[in-house]
């Protein structure tokens, strides 16, 4: 069974949910999927389907990068850490000094994206700094 067949439900859902710039390529036995989902819940759903086909994502035959279209400048973002505070840093990188914290589940504002990984945000206290995008989810 080809990888495209194995992950057919995932690819079909990404397409039907209106994922922009959807790219599906197979390279060296790995299916690379990328695109921009219209909402955060579409992204969550795609990761759920991926996890259903490949429990706990352990096969290593997919690399999926789904960005969220609503994560634009000025957007409200929820801090989705497990339970701890999110570090807000002076610059983009964990070697940068921590200048503030955003609480778990706090709503912050996206100022700009330095990269896919590091976003400049403003906390509810008005503190501006860089935080890692993996813990930030656009509020719908």
């Amino acid at each position: 069974m080809s990888l495209q067949d194995k992950y057919k439900e995932l690819i079909d859902t990404a397409r039907s949910a209106g994922t922009n710039n959807l790219q599906v390529n197979e390279r060296e036995g790995v299916l690379h999927i990328s695109g921009e989902a219209p909402t955060g819940s579409v992204k969550d759903n795609l990761w759920s389907i991926y996890g259903k086909i490949d429990p706990n994502y352990l096969s290593g035959d997919v690399v999926m990068d789904i960005q969220v279209a609503t994560a634009v400048e000025g957007a409200k973002l929820e801090v989705i850490t497990q339970s701890s505070n999110l570090n807000v840093r002076r610059g983009p990188g964990t070697d940068e000094p921590i200048i503030g914290k955003a609480a778990h589940a706090e709503i912050v504002t996206l100022i700009s994206k330095h990269s896919d990984q590091w976003w400049l945000i403003r906390t509810k206290d008005g503190q501006e700094g860089y935080a890692h995008a993996q813990y930030l989810k656009p509020v719908e």
Partner: protein, 168 residues
């Protein structure tokens, strides 16, 4: 009348002593000034004895070594300077990866930086980068692993190999 002459003489002597003091700063006064001048050079030390300043320590280059001497030479009361500062170039940053194959691959370096930023929050996981492939071992909860996998995939590796990872 005699008394008045005496007191004038004492006053003159006292004044002369003060002037002398002012004209010739003590070693400790020189030390304070010299230390001030060297405040931007944390690795340089100075020792003052009878107005002779002995400089020691490290400077990153010859120019810094000379500028330390120049700065100290301007301090009042310094008679001469013995410059024992050693020129020691700053130590090269410790190589992150020791294997030359990985060093030669800039894509791996970029991946490593991204991985290092992400994995700080996942103490249970051991994440390595080799030839564009991210290998994850260790033990993580299912929820944490999902977060980590999403973040690692965002770095666009060739593959994320988690075959050695235990998911609780």
């Amino acid at each position: 009348m005699r008394n008045k002459h005496l007191s004038t003489a004492i006053l003159c002597l006292a004044l002369a002593a003060m002037v002398a003091c002012k004209g010739k700063p003590s070693d400790s006064q020189i030390q304070t000034k010299v230390t001030e001048q060297l405040s931007t050079m944390p690795e340089v030390t100075a020792d003052v004895k009878d107005g002779v300043v002995t400089l020691a320590g490290n400077a990153p280059d010859e120019a810094a070594r000379a500028s330390a001497e120049t700065a100290v030479a301007g301090v009042e009361g310094v008679k001469s300077i013995t410059n024992n500062i050693m020129v020691t170039p700053p130590a090269a940053p410790a190589p992150v990866a020791t294997d030359t194959a990985a060093m030669a691959n800039p894509a791996d370096e970029a991946l490593r930086t991204g991985v290092a930023d992400i994995t700080k929050d996942f103490p249970g996981a051991n994440v390595k980068v080799e030839a564009g492939v991210i290998t994850v071992t260790g033990e993580l909860s299912a929820a944490k692993w999902k977060t980590l996998k999403q973040a690692l995939d965002g770095l666009h590796p060739k593959r994320v190999d988690a075959s050695g990872l235990k998911v609780k």
